[in-house]
């Protein structure tokens, strides 16, 4: 889960070290990555409704302030900080790693957000003015030996895949999908998008998987921590419902979901 905020141009690479000092005890490992581009969900419902072609807005002559990862010792949890973003993520590293549940993640996110806000204030970097927030679930589903990606899709997503089998050439060799839904508030106004992808992939150990990802992203309900939390909670509710409705009974059993 994460938040994107108005860019803090006074945040320079040395500040990232000062920020790490605040998180070092819990997150002793670091990594450095190129910054992510800003992303915005905007709406004009009578408009083209086409996906937004990508563009990148950065001077090549300037040195971008990097995005840093602060990672815990088990390497299962990390936070990401860059000029206009803060994220808290969990990832499965070993077979025994259990997802710590959304509520606990949200609690950690809140504590770390406040801590970051204090550092920004103390170092006179600026304040966090959230403009987007996002919650994402990424599921990597291992394909049994010999199973094609399409057979896996049939197993995971149920009956709608039957319509994709053609009389003359049979089932597709593989398949993938990207779905976008508009999230709305109580008055029906658009507030964000639920974006769902499923596609074949392979892991570094050579095993084949289907990567099924669900993300809810949009403008926070208000431009503060309470608004971000509220969006993350509603985004998570949409994701859980989408997961339940889109996936097959077998998939539910895999995750031991109650119907």
């Amino acid at each position: 889960m994460g938040v994107q905020f108005n860019s803090l141009d006074r945040l320079l690479a040395p500040h990232l070290g000062i920020i790490w000092e605040e998180f070092k005890e819990q997150y002793p490992e670091t990594e450095q990555h190129p910054p992510l581009d800003p992303v915005f969900e905007t709406f004009a419902e009578k408009g083209s409704r086409m996906p937004v072609p990508s563009a990148h807005f950065e001077l090549l002559a300037t040195i971008p302030t990097p995005r840093v990862f602060f990672i815990n010792s088990a390497r299962t949890e990390l936070i990401q900080v860059q000029r206009d973003r803060f994220h808290h993520n969990w990832r499965k590293v070993g077979e025994g790693d259990a997802y710590p549940r959304f509520e606990r993640m949200l609690e950690s996110f809140e504590i770390e957000y406040r801590k970051l806000q204090e550092v920004f204030k103390r170092e006179r970097i600026g304040s966090i003015e959230p403009n987007q927030s996002e919650v994402t679930y990424i599921n990597q589903i291992l394909l049994p030996e010999g199973q094609s990606p399409f057979e896996a899709f049939e197993r995971l997503f149920g009956s709608f895949t039957k319509a994709l089998i053609l009389d003359d050439v049979g089932p597709p060799e593989d398949t993938r999908f990207l779905l976008r839904y508009i999230m709305r508030d109580e008055d029906g106004a658009p507030i964000g998008r639920l974006i769902i992808t499923a596609e074949p992939a392979w892991k570094l150990d050579g095993s084949n998987i289907v990567q099924f990802a669900l993300a809810a992203r949009g403008k926070p309900h208000s431009a503060d921590l309470a608004g971000v939390k509220s969006f993350l909670q509603s985004g998570r509710r949409h994701i859980v419902r989408a997961f339940t409705e889109l996936t097959s009974d077998e998939m539910h059993k895999i995750w031991e979901r109650k119907q």
Binding site: P38, V39, T42, K46, S48, S54
Partner: protein, 163 residues
């Protein structure tokens, strides 16, 4: 100083969808996503407004601080990213590109004008815009603010500035 933007990113065949899950990049264990090779599209084309708009954005990014010698802020890249997202929603493929001028607070103003109507959009920050409309025939002016829902602006632009 190089004034080029990352043009390779712009030259991909259109439509190139926005990467759907940007925030989650590089977080999960690395995997290779297998995407099959397909022939380049021959029927799709860029929206007419896209290239001149991106070229102007590139110029604005080179201005830096104090570009007017009055202490103005540099144009913010997140403002341009938001403006681009907004245009992608409100513009039809054949809508005329706006004139774009920098503002002192790091935002930009987008202008469309013809003999019957003038539209100005001030992008102050992400999710913070002001739209000004002047009907040149009746002289009636109107102004409203908006965040991320831009249907009204889209209606105006498509009716008055689309070929």
């Amino acid at each position: 100083m190089s004034i080029a933007l990352a043009e390779d990113v712009w030259q991909r065949p259109w439509p190139q969808p926005q990467r759907p899950l940007v925030f989650a990049d590089a977080v999960s264990e690395p995997v290779a996503v297998v995407r099959p090779m397909v022939s380049p599209q021959s029927t799709a084309s860029h929206p007419l407004w896209r290239e001149p708009t991106l070229r102007r954005f590139a110029e604005l990014l080179t201005l830096g601080r104090d570009w007017d010698r009055r202490g103005s802020a540099a144009v913010r890249s997140d403002v341009l990213a938001f403006a681009y997202s907004m245009l992608s929603q409100v513009m039809a493929p054949s809508t005329l590109p706006p004139s774009i001028v920098p503002l002192g607070h790091g935002g930009v103003q987008l202008l469309w004008t013809n003999t019957s109507v003038e539209i100005e959009v001030e992008v102050i920050r992400p999710n913070e815009i002001i739209v000004y409309e002047l009907d040149r025939v009746t002289g009636i002016e109107s102004e409203w603010s908006a965040t991320n829902e831009l249907s009204g602006l889209g209606d105006l632009l498509r009716s008055a500035f689309t070929r």
